[in-house]
């Protein structure tokens, strides 16, 4: 891919909590200018991976973020990285104005006018306390603060968890329309794949602490195929070694990786799987005995 240095480079990244291995020698690389979805079921190691990337936890193995060692250099890393870890982490005693003043005071890349302009689009008064705001409003305040930071890497960990559909849509619309450009890179974790799949340029599937798929979205169609197979050709189709099979509404969909297009076309209707379908197929295959 691109020859520019990777923004995040993890080699054999591991993290153990007691006897539980949250990350098991995970390898992944995030290139600049991408929107990467780190997708996995609950407890797969998504948050642990992000905590390591953000310098919030110790880890084993190699990890470089913006050329830095995150745990040792978190404060420096945070000059060029922002994150929203989970919803509603702004302290309830803080006033909106105080939040702006504080970030403006300690963050060299924060642009106060931008935060004010973003907040002006909402009807959240700057005199109000975070504790008085609804969950959706808190998220918008946090997003406005974060988007006003001129960061190279933005990390979002389940940023819309527990928000209603309007607030979720508003969150991602603001992100895509007012924030994203080619100088920025976003890493999003979520287990609600459908919500972000149209945003992403790359997907990283993680399960049981291991990366099980690392693929640009535009390559999914070339690498993976979902074939709708009629019952009479099922036996023949299974010969072609699908990695997953799903039966729904009287049809069977078989999933293939790196298979010959022409052969597949003889079996049934060939399409590219959606990110969420691929996620389910990949994870079911990983977990199959």
């Amino acid at each position: 891919m691109s020859s520019s240095p990777a923004l995040i480079e993890a080699r054999g990244l591991s993290k153990r909590y007691g006897s539980f291995l949250a990350l098991d020698r995970a390898d992944f690389v995030v290139q600049p200018g991408r929107i990467v979805g780190l997708i996995g079921p609950n407890g797969a190691g998504k948050t642990t991976a992000l905590r390591a990337v953000l310098g919030l936890t110790t880890y084993d193995g190699g990890l470089r973020v913006l050329g830095r060692e995150p745990f040792a250099e978190r404060a420096l890393l945070m000059q060029e990285t922002s994150f929203i870890a989970d919803v509603a982490v702004l302290p309830s005693w803080l006033r909106v104005q105080q939040a702006i003043d504080f970030v403006a005071g300690v963050h060299p890349r924060f642009r106060r006018e931008r935060a004010a302009a973003l907040l002006a689009k909402t009807d959240i008064g700057t005199r109000r306390r975070i504790g008085e705001l609804s969950k959706g409003m808190r998220t918008m305040v946090h997003l406005a603060l974060t988007m006003a930071i001129d960061a190279r890497l933005l990390v979002l960990d389940e940023p819309t968890l527990g928000l209603d559909i309007l607030a979720r849509r508003g969150f991602y619309d603001a992100l895509v329309n007012d924030y994203m450009d080619e100088s920025r890179t976003i890493v999003i974790t979520t287990h609600q794949v459908e919500e972000v799949e149209n945003l992403l340029t790359d997907v990283l599937f993680i399960d049981k602490g291991r990366i099980v798929l690392d693929c640009p979205v535009e390559d999914i169609g070339a690498r993976y195929a979902a074939v709708e197979v009629a019952d009479d050709r099922l036996a023949a189709a299974r010969e072609a070694r699908p990695f997953h099979e799903r039966r729904a509404l009287g049809k069977t969909v078989l999933y293939f990786e790196g298979a010959d297009r022409e052969k597949l076309q003889a079996l049934g209707e060939v399409g590219a799987p959606s990110v969420s379908d691929l996620f389910v197929a990949k994870l079911s295959a990983e977990r199959a005995p």
């Binding site: 745990f71 005071g105 300690v106």
Partner: protein
């Protein structure tokens, strides 16, 4: 340096009690002076006796604020690295380009410098207002016993000395509170008390001695004992009040005491431990 100022300001935003509590105590005192009885039996007010009254007055007010400040500081230090982990706002503060050392030091600084100074100022203002109210109400009959400029300055200096030496003397306690605050996942107060109690109990059970209990007792109760000449009532008993206030501090004895510096070392290592925990812990 600028970051540090913002970190300290942030503590004042979060912990309004830092100034609300002393303001309330001071207001109550002034209200008491306004409406309480002022007929203190002191028929022959004047001379040295009036200075005794003045010292007693200022010491009583200072003592109330000192006690309140001690309790509040302990609570503040125990809570300061725990509260934001509990409400998860630590994740917001950790997204800022601030080192964990700066964060911990800002809280230490608020606990041992800012809070004592706020209480010191509050005690001064309360004392001035009370002296004024009492003087007016008593038609200066004995109000003048409360107005000795020299005595006031001496008592001020004495309090600042007691605060400064107190911070050094209690630094192991302060460090311990920060360490527990950075470490505990719940029940901070219990977790601050149990380890020292366990050590004392274990020593008693297995060794039959109680050295740790004595060390702890001397540390907790020995603050003014170490920094002032004792017995503390010496000058009062001798009726030499005016020189007495000056003669109370024993800086030479205090700063040459190994107990003080061993304590500071232990306190500093606890604070360093709190910084390391702060780097690693983000949840409760």
């Amino acid at each position: 340096m600028n970051d540090f100022v913002w970190l300290v300001r942030r503590e004042f935003w979060e912990n309004k009690a830092i100034w609300v509590l002393p303001a309330c105590i001071g207001s109550l005192m002034v209200v008491a002076a306004l409406f309480g009885k002022v007929e203190i039996a002191m028929p022959h007010a004047g001379g040295e006796q009036s200075e005794v009254a003045g010292v007693l007055f200022l010491t009583a007010i200072g003592g109330v604020f000192w006690a309140a400040m001690s309790i509040y500081s302990v609570w503040y230090l125990l809570d300061c690295l725990y509260a934001d982990r509990k409400d998860r706002s630590v994740l917001f503060f950790k997204s800022m380009p601030l080192t964990d050392a700066a964060t911990v030091l800002s809280k230490l600084c608020v606990g041992v410098v800012a809070i004592p100074l706020v209480y010191f100022c509050a005690a001064d203002i309360a004392a001035l207002l009370m002296a004024f109210v009492i003087s007016v109400r008593a038609r200066l009959a004995f109000g003048n016993v409360l107005w000795h400029a020299q005595l006031w300055l001496q008592v001020q200096a004495l309090w600042l000395y007691v605060i400064a030496t107190g911070v050094l003397w209690y630094s192991p306690v302060v460090g311990w509170l920060l360490l527990v605050s950075a470490w505990a996942k719940r029940a901070v107060i219990l977790q601050a008390l149990l380890p020292p109690l366990a050590v004392m109990l274990a020593e008693r059970l297995f060794l039959g001695t109680h050295v740790s209990a004595i060390v702890l007792r001397d540390r907790l109760l020995g603050g003014t004992y170490a920094s002032l000449h004792h017995p503390i009532h010496w000058s009062l008993a001798n009726g030499e009040i005016t020189p007495g206030v000056w003669q109370l501090p024993d800086p030479a004895g205090f700063f040459s005491s190994p107990d003080v510096w061993i304590g500071v070392l232990i306190g500093a290592s606890f604070v360093a431990g709190a910084v390391q925990l702060r780097k690693r812990r983000t949840d409760t």
